[in-house]
Structures are given as C-alpha cells and as structure tokens.
Amino acid sequence: MIKSANPLSLFRRLMLGFSGVIALVALAGFTYVAIEAKITQGARTASENAAHAREVLLHLAEIGADPARIQRSAARLEAVRLEMFRELDYHSRVRLRVWQHGALLYNSLPSLPDVLPAAGSPAARKANPWAIAEERDDASGLVVERSHEVDDEWMLSFSGVSFLLSSTIFSLPLLLLPAWLIVGIGLRPLRSIAEQIEARSVSDLTALPDSPYRELSPLVDAINRLMSRLSQRIEREHEFLTDAAHELKTPLAAIQINAHLLLSRSVADHPQRSAEAGQGLREGVARATHMVHQLLAYERARAEPSAEPLPQTDLSGFVRSRLASAAPLAMQRGIEIEFQSDVDCNMAMHVESMAALLDNLISNAIKYSPENGRICVRLDADASVDTGADASASANANAGTGRCRLTITDQGPGIAPALQQKVFERFYRVPGQEQSGSGLGLAIAERASERNHGAIMLRAAENGAGLKVIVEFATP
C-alpha cells in the first residue's frame, strides 16, 4: 500500500496492532476456558468417583464373607471399567482397593504408592491430583477405596490447544481482510496530501487546502506555515538580490561614464579633465567596492546561528581593538576618538558579526563627524535602562540577567527622529547628504546586534547636535 521500501509503515503498524489485539483476546479466552475446564473437571471427577465407589461397595456387600468371590467380582468390575475407558480413549488411571476386616483383598494398581497426591495437596503440584473416595459397610466389614486420576493434561496437549484456538484461527482471515481494507481506506487522505505536495512545481509555495480531517489539519497547517515562511524568505532574498544589483548599477554607471571620458579624444588634450575623469573612475570603483563589501557583511551578519556555542569574549577589549584600527582614519580628519570603559563585559560573542557591528557604527561616526570633531565611545554594565518607548529594546528586556551598554556619540548632523526607524532599512539613505555610502551600514549593524542578542537604538546627543547610538547586549 505505502511504499514498501520504507522501513516503517503506518499501515503495517495499524495492522500489527490489530493482529496483536486479536491474539491477546484469543489468548485470554483460551486461558479462561482452560482454568474453567480444570476446575469443572476436578469437581466432576470427584463426584463420579464417589458414586462409583459406592456402587462397587453395594456390589461387593451382596457377596458377604467370601474373599475369593469378592476379589473376582472386583476384578471383573475393573475390567468392565477399563473396557469403557479404552473405547472412550480416556487415559486417566483408576485404582480400586478393597479391604475386609482390615485385610487387603484387592488392589487394581499395586505398582502405585500407598498414599496418592490428593487434589489441593502440595504434592499435587508436581504430579496429577487424584480424587479419592472411601466407602465402608460395617455389616460385611468391607472398605472400598477408589482413586481417580484427574487428567487435565489434555487441555495443554496439541489437540486440546488446537481445538480451543481453531475458532480464532479460522476467523482470522475474516477479521484481517476487512481490517486491511478499512486501514487502507482510512489512510487514503494522508496519501492524497502527499500526492498533492508531490505534484507541485518547485516555485508553487501556496497553501494546501485545509484538511476536513481533524487528525490531518495540524499537519496541513504546519506545512502551510512552513510554506508561508519559505515564500516570505524567498521573496525577501529576491528583493535583496534585485535591490543589490540595482544599487550596484549606479557606481558602475559612474565608472562607465568616466572610462568613456578618459578614452575620448577631447580629454586627451586637457590634462585637467583627464585627471578629473580618472578621479571619478576611482571614486566609482571605490563605491562599487564598498557596496560589495557591505553586501557580503550584510549577508554574513544574517547567517543563521550555528550549533556550536559562541566563545566568551571581553567586549571592552574587542571594542578597543576595533577603535584602534579605525583611529588612524579619524586622525587624518583631526577627529578625536575617546573610549571610556569601567567594565569588562564578558559575553558570548559572534566575533565576525560583532566586528561588522562595531566597524559600521564607528565608521559612520567618523564619516559624519565634522573636521576636528569628537567621538565618544562608552561601555557600561548596568541594569538601569532608559529604553523609552523603544519596542526593539523591550523585546530583549528579559533575555538575560546582566546587560552591557555600548554608546557611541558623535558631533555630526544626527538623524531626525522621524527617520530614526527608517534608516535601519537596507539601501535607505538619509536624503540631502554628501557622504557616499551603501545604505547598508545600519541594516548590517541591526542584524549583527540581533545576532549577538543586542538591541540597537538611536537618540539625539545630549548636548545639541550629534547622534547617539546605543547598543544594549543581554549577557546571560
């Protein structure tokens, strides 16, 4: 029914379960019948045995004091009984013993021990129990003892078991065939969902129709949720690719125009123009290069968290090393960088994305600082948080016990409050500015801070102009 190559099969599972139940019920029935039969057999044998003993005594009492006749008579009675047992194919043994005035006159089975295991006695557990009846007649001084072996071995013999189980065995196909059909029909909706998914094209990520079956709708819902997440993600990647290609076109166009100018005849005679075109070419390449680096950084900052734990790293030392590599650039423009840190924030850090976060924030601060401006970087570890109404910060408010807060303040033009959310969108650039950029810096910073369990927010610097970027890291 379901692919036979599968190591596990729902169908087989259901069928095995069903067969198991049948077997269990049959076994319970068999056990009940066997125990019941054993009890009845014992009781019946006991009462029959008592009646036969009395019958024998009545016969023998007629004879009176003639031991020889009593012996003959007892032997004849035994012979009759044996004949009947043989005809009925009974294998139970019977011992008949007769005494007169204390002397043993007859013993049908002299080979047996004197005392036989009575029903319910401890000895009866090892051997078959015997039903024993004793009758006495005082007038003739006769005592008749009849012992009948209770035979319940038959119940456990092959013929007994097969007799008892035959009904179950014969009904098995009658039970399993309908079960096979019912299970097959019951699993059909599952197969139909599989077929629907199978028949889809790779690009078809629309939702599956809701299943009318209560058991299947969670599966269908889960698949639909996955499909919707996938299609959103593919949509985003598609958009990103389109945007990225589009954003690269602008610097490439600048390169193309300047290359054309450089090669054109009119420029050859004007060294000034030629130098300008060369400079334009360089700038275009620099912009395209920067864009490619930023695109890669953006992609890396997003990469899904890996399974291995992130190394514990001292944030303070890390910030210091990133500032050290950015400082010469700032110095060229006379910008002073200062780092204040009273604490070492040890945190599980994804080093590459943290570097991207810090580098982007620091290079933004340098880029937008005025000549001879000042950039102040602070790192503190405190619990007091002035998040205001910032949703992204409160989302992480319960993420850990301690938190480290990194603040980068510059004296640049700042970002208008209305744009402070907008600037995190990729490729968004604040209008009316002269500095070139990829429009990805803050988008990278946001992703990278998320990856390091941080939340990033923008504020106006306290003393007038400038931007204050705050990154709060939960350090669990």
Binding site: H293, L296, G317, R320, A327, P328, E338, Q340, E352
Partner: protein, 218 residues
C-alpha cells in the same frame, strides 16, 4: 625592491606589473604555484605577493611549504576571501599581511613597503622615524644625531610603536607585549616620560584605546 608576484588572473597581473614597473620595482610574475619554491630558493627576493586561489593549488599550501623550508621573506597575501576565518588562517600560516581584493594601489604599495621595512629593520636592527634613529641591538636612540637616554621599558615601548607606526597599539597590546609586569597607570607614566625625552608630538594618544607613533608629516 625585487618582488615575486604569484597571481593567476591576467588582467590583475598585467596591471600590477605596470604599477610596480612605474614604481621602479623589479617583478617576477608567476601564474602558478608550481616552480615558485624553486625560484625562491635560487633567487633573492624582497617580498612575495601571493594570491590564494591558484589554478594548481591553494596559496596557503605554498606559503606553508615556504615557511617549512625556512624561507622567512615577507609575504603579502592578496585575495578576495574576506571572512575573518580566512584572514586568521592566512596569518596563522605565516603571512605578514593580508590584503583583500579589490584594493587601492597606494594601500598595496604602503603595505608592501611596510612588511619589507619590518623585515629589513629586523635584519639590520635599525629603525628611523622622523628625527629619531633607533638601534634595536644596542638599544640606543638618537634624536637629530644627539643621543637620547631612555630606560629599558621606554626603549621597548618606543620600538614597539615605531615598528608599527601609523597603527594604534591598544593598551592591552602594549601592556602584554612590552610591560608584562607593570600594571594600570604605569603605561601612561612611561609614555609621559618618553614624550618628555623625544618630543610631545611623535606619540599620539587615543584616549581609552591606546597609542600610536605618528610621523610629523603623516
């Protein structure tokens, strides 16, 4: 300067060849890793410019072989692989510097000069920095020809800063590398003493971060 360039891309190789010739450097250009080792063993080069993605193998493998054979000349890796892991791997293999494509030509020239200077400075034991000349072996410093008396720690600090001039050395780097047994304020005290002896403006402070030796004209 004589440079061995191992780069398989024709456009980049040709352009770099032109740049180096303009700068007056002698360049041997190989487009494969094969034969590079033999060349390095028979000829004297000042530096190796090494691309990583070569048609007949990884540049890192060649670098490893070079170091294993005791070739200690400076190596500058230039590659498009820009992940942190790649960069660290490059340095661990024994590269002196790592330049990511695409790069600016002036940056390439500056870095190339820097690694060659570092290697030569080490070999001769002498460093010049503005008016200062440092003799690493004899631990002597002269300023405009006149000897300057520095303590052992001050000399070590100055040497570390001068060797990496133009780069900010963090407090941790200086404390661990130069002042392993001093703590806290002493780094600032040493720098302050040093400045009194060699002039205020040669060492720049990046507050809270570290110090940088800066040539007066940089």
């Amino acid at each position: 300067m004589k440079i061995l360039m191992i780069e398989d891309d024709l456009a980049i190789g040709r352009a770099l060849l032109a740049v180096f010739q303009d700068e007056g450097h002698a360049v041997i250009w190989l487009r494969m890793a094969e034969g590079a080792l033999a060349r390095l063993q028979t000829e004297q080069f000042d530096a190796v410019l090494l691309d990583l993605g070569l048609p007949d193998g990884d540049g890192n493998v060649l670098l490893k072989q070079m170091r294993a054979q005791g070739l200690s000349l400076p190596v500058l890796i230039m590659t498009a692989r820009d992940s942190l892991e790649d960069r660290l791997n490059g340095f661990n293999t024994g590269a002196d510097d790592y330049l990511i494509k695409p790069f600016e030509i002036p940056e390439l020239l500056v870095r190339l000069r820097a690694i060659v200077r570092r290697a030569h400075g080490n070999a001769e034991g002498g460093w010049s920095f503005g008016e200062l000349v440092l003799d690493e072996r004899r631990m002597l410093v002269t300023r405009a020809g006149a000897p300057v008396a520095l303590s052992r720690t001050e000399f070590a600090l100055l040497l570390a800063l001068v060797k990496e001039s133009g780069r900010v050395l963090t407090r941790a780097e200086l404390e661990q590398g130069v002042l392993p047994h001093s703590e806290g304020q002493t780094l600032d005290v040493h720098i302050s003493n040093l400045r009194k002896k060699i002039g205020e403006r040669l060492i720049r402070t990046v507050r809270g971060v570290g110090y940088m030796a800066q040539r007066p004209h940089d």
